[in-house]
Amino acid sequence: MCFVQNTRGLRSQLKDSVPVTGLCPQAGPYGVQDSLRRGFSSVKNELLPSHPLELSEKNFQLNQDKMNFNTLRNIQGLHAPLKLQMEYRAARQIQRLPFLPSSNLALDTLRGTDDTIGFEDILNDPVLSEVMGDPHIMTEYKLGVL
């Protein structure tokens, strides 16, 4: 499951209608956009992506994982993706404090991306980001106190 993308598993993923996720206004706790935390919303900004690749890039890793799990299920049975997903969930929980960048080493090793280099390692590396979220606000948000 490393750099080689599972392009033949696409047939198992094709459906009639593909829901577009990630672009509609993310509803806060009261059903409308949380202006305080996410800023002002504009209908035009949310309806269409600003670049044709934006959506596909945002969901790329997710779609790859889905396809791989589907193929794995077809080959080895339901238990295989279930066990792997459990390991993924456990690995995803190994994080540093919310405002510090985590290396996600366990997750990378599981996915097989620890020995590949892509644009996500070169461009916009979160480790080299010049701004940091406010530590107090971010920990409060994480703990649900905010």
């Binding site: 993308q5 992506p49 596909s56 892509g118 070169i122 606000i137 948000y141």
Partner: protein, 288 residues
């Protein structure tokens, strides 16, 4: 109160609290760029063009291996940006890749694939294959749906023999005995179609590639300057840069500088300037 207002400002400032900061391409400025471009076009100007390689690149499979050839001109719109750029990129010790299209795209793509192939070969413990590089390139280019403008000619010799692929920006590939790419590809292909035959000798193959690139250089505005060749055989790579300087820059025949003594000296007066030190102050450099 003032404390709560200050807190609200901090909350607004950390809008990124909820979003996980991921690496890779960022599309934040796309809308702004589109608006700027529309405004500029309304005023009648045009936005700056990306540097392309407007190229002739080609490759041919001969008896013992693969010969890759490229010209050396990089253009930026209608201006030559680089008179001697290197278009044959290293992918692995036995695989080289010529790149046409947007110069930055070909450069970065080949570097990324080269790194990935190195990691892969360390992990497998074997010399990498041309087909592996081809598949990596094609999957990456397809993922970006042709927005990465890199048209490549990939060639090399591995344990299964010599191979040559051409890879288009949208991700389609062709495995052929002779390929050409770039704006001068038609001129180069004409030469290939006329004189190619299977299992050529090395000298004949080099001459054929040199002539094909020369056809591209002299008949296409986007290609020019010198001809680079790369001959890959089992265990040996000959990177001939430049193999042939097809366009030599002219040598200046005259000189406008006059020799010493051309103008006769009639009289000479020397006035020494006596300078005295009035004030001296030392400022230490802040090296902390």
């Amino acid at each position: 109160s003032r404390a709560s207002r200050k807190r609200e400002c901090r909350i607004m400032a950390t809008v990124s609290v909820c979003q996980y900061h991921r690496g890779g391409f960022s599309f934040e400025n796309c809308k702004r760029n589109a608006l700027l471009e529309a405004d500029i076009n309304k005023l009648g100007f045009s936005s700056p063009a990306a540097r392309k390689t407007g190229t002739t690149i080609c490759g041919v499979v001969y008896k013992d291996g693969v010969v890759l050839g490229a010209d050396t001109r990089a253009t930026e719109g209608m201006v030559v940006a680089d008179k001697n750029c290197s278009k044959i990129h290293y992918i692995s010790p036995n695989v080289y890749c010529c790149g046409a299209g947007t110069a930055a795209d070909t450069e970065m793509t080949t570097q990324i694939i080269s790194s990935n192939l190195e990691l892969h070969s360390l992990s497998t413990g074997r010399l990498p294959r041309v087909a592996t590089a081809n598949r990596m390139l094609k999957q990456m280019l397809f993922r970006y749906q042709g927005y990465i403008g890199a048209a490549l000619v990939l060639g090399g010799v591995d344990c299964t023999g010599p191979h040559l692929y051409s890879i288009y920006p949208h991700g389609s590939t062709d495995k052929l005995p002779y390929v050409t790419m770039g704006s001068g590809s038609l001129a180069a292909m004409a030469v290939f179609e006329d004189r190619y035959r299977p299992n050529m000798e090395e000298e004949e193959a080099k001459r054929l590639v040199r002539d094909a690139i020369a056809a591209g250089i002299f008949n296409d505005l986007g290609s020019g300057s010198n001809i680079d060749l790369c001959v890959i055989t089992k265990g040996k790579v000959d990177y001939l840069r430049p193999h042939d300087v097809a366009n030599k820059k002219g040598v200046r025949t005259g000189n406008y500088r006059y020799k010493h003594g051309t103008t006769g000296v009639l009289a000479k007066t020397v006035t020494p300037l006596n300078l005295e030190v009035v004030e001296e102050n030392v400022q230490t450099m802040d090296t902390s």
